[in-house]
């Protein structure tokens, strides 16, 4: 966690971090991805264009060797963000820089090179593994595609990769369906690792796994990060898992980042009402037993027609006044506690400019608003 982050700062092999003032490995500005809504004949006749605002203006940065956790309820756009950052999707607007290069419009050879540096791991490894290929062939294929190794060298490398992810190389002639969920995710990781990427975008990589196996895979991903100096964008709905793996966390709501900051700050001193509601709803195996208190009703509104002003105003337990509906709050630095670093902890809420005492008086969380 934070120790990992610090080690990247003192690293002499060229690890840069946002903190040390170097260029981030990955950065996005004003990133948008909109999808057309399937429309009926009549809609088209009247020219009613409808769009799903899946990602709707995201700024973010990721340093080398860093893990950025992206959390939010289903439909918040976190998966689409991952796919757009990795250029599986073409952005609707905005820029993405990777390793000093603008990649939002990359095509052809540049896109192919990018496919080597940026790998994606999905929730269900089975759906992303070719069922008719042996797992050995699956892991070996990217080596051939990217001219990394062929023939015997390739076989050797595959065996190495298998051992690296904790699979016996003897299993290379089996097919994906012969494996358990955890083993399949190991194959998926070995395949991603084969091309020696700099960045791995992991979209719910452990959500489908049993808890005992989930812990194995999380440990594996952390170890590989340290060994290979990888950066991760770790997308997940499980906040406890994200807390465990991430250096920083971005909280998404309706296609926007509403709060971001170092993991410790987000969990110990959350600023945004949405983050607080999410944290309060985490099921826990420690602390008080019994029912969870929920301050968040219903579902997020439709991303086809997002609310005016603050996207969270229709559900916000700390709603202030008309300003919440009229003006969209900007993501701005917040100082939640003495230890927290306002340069790195940012939140998008009108409470940022208001009186702490007023807020404490109306918040369902009482005085516990940090700061």
């Amino acid at each position: 966690m934070s120790s990992q982050f610090e080690s990247s700062v003192t690293d002499t092999t060229g690890g840069q971090s946002a903190e040390s003032g170097g260029e981030p490995l990955l950065s996005a500005k004003g990133l948008k991805k909109h999808f057309p809504v399937e429309q009926s004949f009549l809609d088209r006749l009247f020219g009613d264009d409808e769009w799903v605002h899946a990602v709707d203006g995201v700024d973010l940065t990721l340093a080398e060797r860093e893990t950025l956790g992206v959390v939010g309820e289903s439909g918040c756009g976190k998966s689409t963000l991952g796919r757009t950052l990795s250029r599986l999707y073409e952005p609707t607007a905005g820029t993405i820089h990777f390793d000093g290069e603008e990649i939002s419009d990359a095509e052809g050879d540049r896109l192919k090179a990018l496919r080597k540096d940026v790998q994606v791991i999905f929730q269900d490894p089975l759906s992303s593994l070719n069922p008719r290929k042996t797992v050995g062939e699956i892991v070996g294929k990217p080596l051939a595609v990217h001219d990394i190794a062929t023939g015997e060298a390739k076989d050797e490398r595959v065996a190495e990769l298998f051992e690296e992810v904790g699979l016996s190389p003897d299993l290379r002639d089996r097919y994906p369906h012969e494996f358990s969920g955890g083993q399949r995710q190991r194959v998926g990781i070995a395949r991603a690792l084969a091309v020696e990427p700099k960045l791995i975008i992991a979209d719910e990589p452990v959500s489908a796994l049993d808890v005992s196996v989930q812990a194995q895979i999380i440990n594996l991903m952390k170890r590989l990060q340290q060994e290979y100096g990888l950066s991760y964008v770790f997308i997940a709905h499980d906040l406890s898992v994200v807390r465990h793996v991430s250096d920083r966390i971005a909280v998404m709501y309706l296609g926007k980042i509403v709060e971001e900051g170092p993991t410790h700050d987000i969990f110990e001193a959350p600023a945004h009402p949405y983050t607080k509601s999410l944290l309060a709803a985490i099921p826990s195996i420690t602390g008080e037993m019994g029912r969870r208190t929920v301050h968040l009703d219903g579902n997020p509104p439709s991303p086809i027609d997002p609310p005016s002003g603050c996207p969270f105003h229709t559900r916000c337990p700390e709603y202030i006044d008309e300003e919440c509906e009229a003006d969209e709050p900007a993501l701005q630095p917040v100082e939640q506690s003495a230890e927290s670093d306002p340069e790195r902890h940012r939140s998008a809420c009108h409470w940022n400019d208001r009186d702490e005492a007023d807020r404490a008086a109306q918040s369902p969380y009482g005085n516990d608003v940090g700061g």
Partner: protein, 403 residues
């Protein structure tokens, strides 16, 4: 511990903390459910015993392949294609194994309802939700409306249920009970018009329509976001508090168990590992598997760099190891672990552990075996097996203490 049949009375959740002598609502002893496949017999449920009391929320927690869902299906005669046997499988004092399909259907409509992870598996996509619930209400038969085939067909294809009818009104009432806003309007909507959380509520309303004594909920919140999950679980707890209905909650999620269940059973590879009241299970877990599970979960208050994973994988169900099925992954495994498992009782009432570390001839410090008298231990195991040891829990009621 007596098992003599007794006329049962419907009682709400008792707030007494005394141990009651009532027979349990559901008693399962030595349940085996075996599927025959090309690759051999799969003992999906392999000697499971537990009991559920009136007004109790009982959790069964386990990972995939643990047999937790098949256990539930077996109770209701829904384990298609499997051979189900048990020393005892009783709902109240009725033997479920002796019932034919028609009688079981009757029980499923009136006494025991089931809700699933995917609401669409039990909701009809082309009927309004009000209509579906009203149908169950009429079938349950206490609204005095005709449910002849003709009347049902006419309702279904021509008139729809009249909104002034008792069954429709009851459907709206039930939607209200499970926390659906504007229930009268929502009753006229189709399942696809509802969000995931709302569909799950409709399914709960439908389960309630038969006025059941036991609701079996199989991973009811697994597909939902945490905020919605919390609402649905609270809804289930409200039903227990208000109507005294018992709930059997099947889940993979220990945190969900911890916040909802009074007692819990941990299953692995078709077998019981440990059962206890929920507080005891979390504060004093005895089984190495239970401990491993708890330790492998990332918590919001720990700063472990590495999670304590349980290495290895669940055994192939067609080739389970002899004795304790967990022994291929257990750090504490020792000489006795190839012997068949039996339940060892702890001091707390109803706390049982299927692990030979707790055999009286074994001295252990909770992590490691210090000394074992093999001959004596095996003797004890045999005596244990011979005795007819139904796991009937005494009833620690934590209703007042937990909430």
């Amino acid at each position: 511990m007596s098992s003599q049949p007794r006329p049962t009375q419907r009682a709400g959740p008792s707030v007494s903390t005394t141990v009651t002598e009532e027979p349990p609502l559901l008693a399962v002893d030595n349940l085996h459910t075996t599927f025959t496949t090309e690759r051999g017999d799969v003992p999906a449920v392999d000697g499971v015993s537990f009991a559920i009391n009136e007004g109790e929320v009982f959790g069964i927690v386990g990972e995939s392949g643990s047999g937790k869902s098949v256990t539930a299906l077996s109770l209701l005669g829904l384990a298609d294609g499997a051979t189900v046997t048990a020393d005892r499988l009783c709902f109240r004092d009725e033997d479920l194994l002796a019932k034919d399909e028609a009688a079981l259907r009757e029980i499923r409509g009136n006494d025991i309802s089931m809700i699933f992870q995917d609401p669409m598996s039990s909701l009809n996509p082309v009927m309004t939700v009000g209509e579906q619930i009203a149908e169950v209400v009429r079938h349950h038969g206490d609204v005095g409306e005709s449910q002849s085939l003709f009347a049902e067909l006419r309702r279904k294809y021509v008139t729809g249920t009249s909104e002034s009818s008792a069954s429709w009104q009851r459907a709206v009432e039930l939607l209200d009970t499970v926390g659906i806003p504007d229930p009268a309007d929502r009753a006229n909507e189709y399942p696809h018009q509802l969000s995931g959380g709302m569909k799950q509520r409709v399914m709960i309303a439908q389960a309630l329509a038969g006025d059941p004594d036991l609701i079996i909920a199989d991973e009811p919140t697994t597909a939902l976001d945490v905020t919605i999950e919390a609402q649905i679980l609270n809804e289930l707890l409200d039903l227990r508090d208000e109507f005294g209905v018992s709930i059997m909650l099947i889940t993979h999620d220990l945190a969900v168990v911890r916040e909802t269940c009074d007692r819990v059973a941990v299953m692995y590879a078709g077998e019981m590992m440990e059962t206890a009241d929920t507080r005891t299970l979390f504060e004093d877990p005895r089984h190495p598997y239970t401990r491993g599970l708890i330790d492998s979960i990332p918590r919001t208050d720990d700063d472990r760099e590495w999670l304590d994973a349980i290495e290895g994988n669940v055994p192939d169900p067609t080739a389970k190891p002899q004795g304790c099925p967990f022994r291929t992954r257990c750090d504490a495994a020792f000489s006795l672990c190839e012997e068949p498992l039996v339940a060892y009782s702890a001091e707390e009432p109803g706390h049982r552990t299927w692990c030979h570390l707790y055999n009286d001839a074994v001295a252990n410090d909770g992590d490691e075996v210090q000394r074992v008298d093999d001959a004596e231990a095996k003797q004890l195991i045999q005596e244990h097996e011979a005795s007819d040891d139904l796991v009937t829990p005494q009833r620690p009621n934590f209703g007042g203490e937990y909430r």
